[in-house]
Amino acid sequence: MKLLTHNMLTSNIIKGVTKGFPLQIAATDIKVTEVDFNPDFISRMISKVEWPALCEAAESIGHLGDLPKELDPDYEKNEEFLKKAHHVLLEVEIKEGELICPETGRKFPVTNGIPNMLLNEDEVGK
C-alpha cells in the first residue's frame, strides 16, 4: 500500500467513528520501489491529498525526508518539491503492519501490502 492510498483511507465505517482519519501506521515492513516520475500526475495527486496527513504518515514511518510540511502554493512549478512528493506518495509502500483507527484504536492488519478493512458485524455503523 502506497501512502497515496493510505491518504484516501478512513475508519469512519466503524460505528461511532466520525472522521477516522488519518489512520495511524504501525509498519513492520516498508518497501521502497522506484516509480517513473510524472510531474503533472503528481501535481494532480497532490490536489487530492490531505497534505498534513500525508506528512504525518510519512514521518511516522521515517520516510518524510525533507518534504516540507507546508504545501508550497506554487508546488506545480517546483520540480524538486514534486520529486520529493512523488517519492513519498508513490514509492514508499507499507508491506506489513497495522493501520490504527485514531478514534477507537481498532487495528486493521496489513499483510503483503494489503490492508484488511473488513469489520465484524457488531462494529459496522449505519
Binding site: 500500500m1 484516501m8 500526475f41 494489503i114 478493512m117
Partner: protein, 728 residues
C-alpha cells in the same frame, strides 16, 4: 501396483543365488531374446529387509499364506491383472517349465496363482523366474516388471466372478448380426465425415446426437428444439425388433452415438431422470468394453458389453445405479467367454468401440421410486435456501453464497476473467489524466490497469482476489461494498461492475450504490453494471450477437468435454453436475451473457462476479413474496404469496424466470482425474439478484443528489452512468 522384492518378505532369499545360471539356461533354450535376472546387491538387500515388516502386513491383509516347502502351487507377485499382465502372458511364460493345471488371476490384483501338475515344474519355474526383471517386449507387454515367486500349500479357492447384473438391467448378447453392425458403423463413419464441422469431439470420446441435442451441463434436452431428421433410419430395424419383442414399449426419440478409442471412457453417472423415460438402450459395436455399474451402497458390478450386444437399463439400473466406462486400454473379462475355461479372468485389449444410446424423452416430471437420485423430486424436497427477510439473514446469505464462494473459487474464477468489457474500458479511458478511480468490487483487478494515466484503487470482499490484484501491482484493500473505508468524495470516478447484484435485499443494493456515490466527488461519475434478468435483448442487436453465438458454438465442443453428464460423487448418493471448463460458454437464450462471458469475460466480485456458467432456474415464478417491489416491475407478484421465497438454482441455458437465484459454479480442482472416484468437481452456489429492465434506474433515483447520465443494456447487463450532483 507393483510388489517389490517379494522374496524378502516370503523368505525366499536363498533363491537369489540360483538365478544367474538358471537364467542363461532358459534364455538359450527358449527365449528369443536374452533375459536377465538381477541379483540384488548387499545394500539393496539391506534396504529391502527394512520393508519386510510392512510387506508382511500387506500379505496378511491379502490373506495369502505362503509356504517354505516346495509345492505345485506358486504365488507370483507382479503377474496380475492389477499391474497389466494378462492371463495369456502368465500362461506363455510359465508353461515352459511344465504342465500347468490352473492359473488364477483376480481383478485388480497384482499377482497370479499358478498351479503345476508337478512339484518339479513349480520348483523349476520358481528358480528361473523368481526375482527376474522381465525386460523384453516379446516376453511381456509391459516390460520392467519383476516377478517374485513363492510356494503355497494350495491355491486359494477361486473367487467367484460376479456375473450378476444390476436389478433391472437387460443384457442381450448378439442382438444384431455382424452385417447389421457394419451398417451401423458405416452410417456413423459417413456422418462423421459429413459433419466434421459440427461434430462434437469431446475430449474423452466422439459424440453425435440425433432427435434432440443432448445438452451437457444441465444434462437434458430442449424439447422445443428437435433436430432435423430425427432418429436415422439405419436404426429402424433394431428399434422395431426391440419393440416387437417387448423389451421397450415406447419408441426412443433421442439417439447419442459415442465413439471411444482405446483408453477413453465415460465417468460414472446416472442419466438425469427428468429428461428421459425409463428404459435406456445401448448398442455396442466394434469392441468390447466393461461397463461398471455401481450402487449407492457400494456394490459394484462390472458388465462386459460384447460387440453387437444391447443393454436396456430399466428400473433400478436406470434410476439408481451409476454406469460408466473406465478409461483404459484393456478389460478384465472372464476367460470363459474367450477361450472356454471357466471362472478365469484375463485381460482383453480394447479396440474402437462405438455405442448407440437410445432414449425416450420425457414430458412430465419423473416419478421414480428413487427420490434421492431424482432431480424431478429433489427439486421440491431439497434443502431450500430462502430469500432473506431480515438484514441479518441477508448478511448470512451473502456471506455463505457470495463471500465464501468467491474466496474458494478465486483462483479458478480469476483464470476465467481476463478480457475487460469494451464499454467499461471506454468509460475508464474517457477519464481525464490524473483522475482518481475507485473500483469497488474489483475482483481480479482487470480494470485497475486499463488507464495508466489515472490512479486506480481497487477493493474487494475476497481476500484471495485482492491478493491476485496485489501480485499484479495494483493498489488494493479488502473491504465490504457496504462499508467502503474511503473518505467521502475522494474519487473522481467509481466503477461497480457486477457487484450490486450480489446484495440480497433491495435496501442493501441501494446501500451499495449509495456507498459508491458517497466516495465520489461532486461532479464525478460512476459506472454501475448489474446482471440483467432479460437475456434476450439480442433481438435488437441480432447481427452482432449472432456472430458471437456462432463463435461460441465453435468453441463449445471443447468445453463440453469437461461437461460430461451428471457425475456421481464417490459415495454414489450425491449427484452433481460435472465441471465445466473455465471457458465454458452457454449458448442460446443467454446469448447476451454468454457473450460477455466468453469474448470479453466479465467482471468480478466483491463481490463481483459474472455470468459465465450462468444458469437460471425455472421454478416458482408465481410467488415472489419478499421481493421488495421496485417501481412498477414486480411482475411476478401474486397476492397472498408464501411468506418467504425459495431461491431456485439456475440451470444453464434456461431463461431467468425470477430475479433472485443461485448460480452454480463448478470448481475444477485438479487436473488429475480418477474416473472411478470422481471427486474433482466442487459445486458452489452464488447468490444473484438479476435486475429487470428499469430497476437499476429506479434504484439509483432513490439516492439523493444523483443524476443518471446514461443507462443502457450491454452484454446481458443493465448499466448506468451516474453523476453526483454538486451540493446546492
Amino acid at each position: 501396483m507393483y510388489i517389490e522384492n517379494y522374496n524378502q518378505m516370503i523368505g525366499h532369499y536363498n533363491h537369489a543365488h540360483y538365478l544367474k545360471h538358471s537364467m542363461s539356461w532358459r534364455v538359450n533354450s527358449k527365449m528369443s531374446a536374452p533375459v536377465r535376472g538381477e541379483k540384488m546387491t548387499k545394500a539393496e538387500r539391506k534396504a529391502l529387509r527394512k520393508q519386510v515388516k510392512s510387506k508382511h502386513t500387506l500379505l496378511k491383509h491379502e490373506g495369502i499364506e505362503t509356504s517354505s516347502t516346495p509345492s505345485k502351487h506358486l504365488f507370483v507377485a507382479n503377474a496380475g491383472l492389477g499391474n497389466g499382465v494378462s492371463r495369456d502372458e502368465v500362461d506363455s511364460i510359465f508353461n515352459w517349465f511344465g504342465e500347468i493345471a490352473d492359473i488364477v488371476l483376480l481383478p485388480e490384483k497384482p499377482y497370479a496363482f499358478v498351479e503345476y501338475t508337478s512339484v518339479d515344474a513349480a520348483v523349476a519355474a520358481c528358480q528361473a523366474m523368481h526375482g527376474r526383471k522381465l525386460k523384453c517386449p516379446e516376453e511381456i507387454s509391459t516390460p520392467g516388471i519383476t516377478f517374485y515367486i513363492s510356494f503355497m500349500e494350495k491355491v486359494p479357492p477361486p473367487i467367484s466372478i460376479v456375473s450378476a447384473l444390476p436389478h433391472g438391467l437387460i443384457y442381450l448378447e448378439e442382438f444384431i448380426t455382424e452385417e447389421e453392425e457394419q451398417d451401423f458403423l458405416e452410417f456413423f463413419k459417413t456422418q462423421d465425415a459429413d459433419c466434421a464441422d459440427t461434430q462434437k469431439t469431446l475430449k474423452h470420446r466422439k459424440v453425435k446426437h440425433y432427435g434432440f441435442e443432448f445438452i451437457y451441463g444441465p444434462n437434458n434436452v430442449d424439447l422445443e428444439k428437435p433436430l432435423e431428421g430425427g432418429i436415422p433410419t439405419v436404426c429402424d430395424g433394431l428399434l422395431d425388433k426391440l419393440m416387437a419383442k417387448g423389451y421397450i414399449q415406447q419408441r426412443p426419440d433421442q439417439l447419442t452415438i459415442n465413439q471411444y478409442e482405446p483408453g477413453q471412457g465415460i465417468p460414472p453417472h446416472v442419466d438425469t431422470h427428468s429428461p428421459f423415460e425409463d428404459g435406456l438402450i445401448s448398442l455396442s459395436l466394434g469392441s468390447q468394453a466393461v461397463m461398471d455399474f455401481r450402487h449407492p451402497d457400494g456394490r459394484h458390478l462390472p458388465v462386459v458389453l460384447q460387440p453387437r450386444s444391447v443393454i436396456i437399463m430399466t428400473g433400478e439400473s436406470r434410476y439408481l445405479w451409476t454406469h460408466g466406462i473406465t478409461p483404459r486400454k484393456a478389460d478384465v473379462v472372464s476367460a470363459s467367454s474367450t477361450e472356454g475355461s471357466q471362472d478365469s479372468l484375463t485381460l482383453v485389449s480394447r479396440g474402437v468401440r462405438t455405442s448407440f444410446t437410445f432414449r425416450k424423452t420425457r414430458s412430465g416430471p419423473c416419478q421414480c421410486k428413487f427420490p434421492e437420485q431424482c432431480d424431478s423430486q429433489k427439486k421440491s424436497s431439497q434443502e431450500n435456501i430462502l430469500l432473506p427477510k431480515s438484514e441479518q439473514e441477508a448478511a448470512q446469505l451473502e456471506n455463505k453464497h457470495v463471500h465464501e464462494v468467491y474466496e474458494e473459487i478465486a483462483g479458478h474464477f480469476s483464470g476465467t476473467r481476463h478480457t475487460p468489457w469494451p464499454r467499461v474500458v471506454e468509460f475508464l479511458t474517457s477519464l481525464p489524466d490524473g483522475a482518481l478511480l475507485a473500483d469497488i468490487g474489483c475482483g481480479n483487478g482487470k480494470y485497475l490497469g486499463i488507464n495508466k494515466n489515472i490512479f486506480s484503487i481497487g477493493c474487494d470482499r475476497s481476500f484471495n482476489l485482492v491478493k491476485i490484484c496485489e501480485e499484479r501491482g495494483h493498489e488494493v484493500f479488502v473491504c465490504d461494498a457496504l462499508s467502503v473505508p474511503l473518505r467521502d468524495g475522494v474519487a473522481d470516478a467509481c466503477i461497480s461492475i457486477a457487484v450490486v447484484h450480489h446484495m440480497s435485499t433491495q435496501e442493501r443494493r441501494q446501500h451499495a450504490i449509495q456507498e459508491v456515490l458517497r466516495v465520489l466527488r461532486p461532479g464525478g461519475k460512476a459506472l454501475i453494471y448489474v446482471w440483467a434478468l432479460e437475456q434476450e435483448l439480442h433481438k435488437v442487436k441480432s447481427n452482432y450477437l449472432k456472430e458471437i453465438k456462432m463463435k461460441q458454438r465453435g468453441q463449445q465442443s471443447d468445453s463440453e468435454v469437461e461437461n460430461n453428464e451428471t457425475v456421481v460423487v464417490e459415495n454414489g448418493s450425491q449427484v452433481v453436475q460435472k465441471v465445466s471448463g473455465p471457458d465454458t460458454q452457454c449458448v442460446g437464450t443467454l446469448a447476451g451473457c454468454c457473450q460477455e462471458n466468453q469474448s470479453q469475460t466479465s467482471t468480478k466480485t466483491a463481490a463481483g462476479q459474472e455470468s459465465r456458467d450462468s444458469s437460471v432456474n425455472e421454478s416458482n415464478s408465481s410467488e415472489k413474496p419478499h421481493q421488495v417491489k421496485v417501481g412498477e416491475m414486480n411482475c411476478h407478484t401474486e397476492s397472498g404469496a408464501i411468506s418467504q421465497k425459495i431461491l431456485a438454482v439456475h440451470v444453464n441455458r434456461t431463461k431467468f424466470e425470477q430475479p433472485d437465484l443461485l448460480v452454480p459454479w463448478h470448481l475444477k480442482e485438479k487436473e488429475k482425474r480418477d474416473q472411478t472416484t470422481v471427486g474433482d468437481s466442487k459445486l458452489f452456489h452464488r447468490y444473484y439478484h438479476v435486475f429487470e429492465e428499469g430497476e437499476l434506474e429506479v434504484l439509483c433515483q432513490k439516492i439523493p443528489k444523483v443524476r443518471i447520465v446514461e443507462s443502457y443494456y450491454d452484454k446481458g447487463n443493465w448499466c448506468a452512468i451516474l453523476m453526483k450532483e454538486n451540493d446546492a
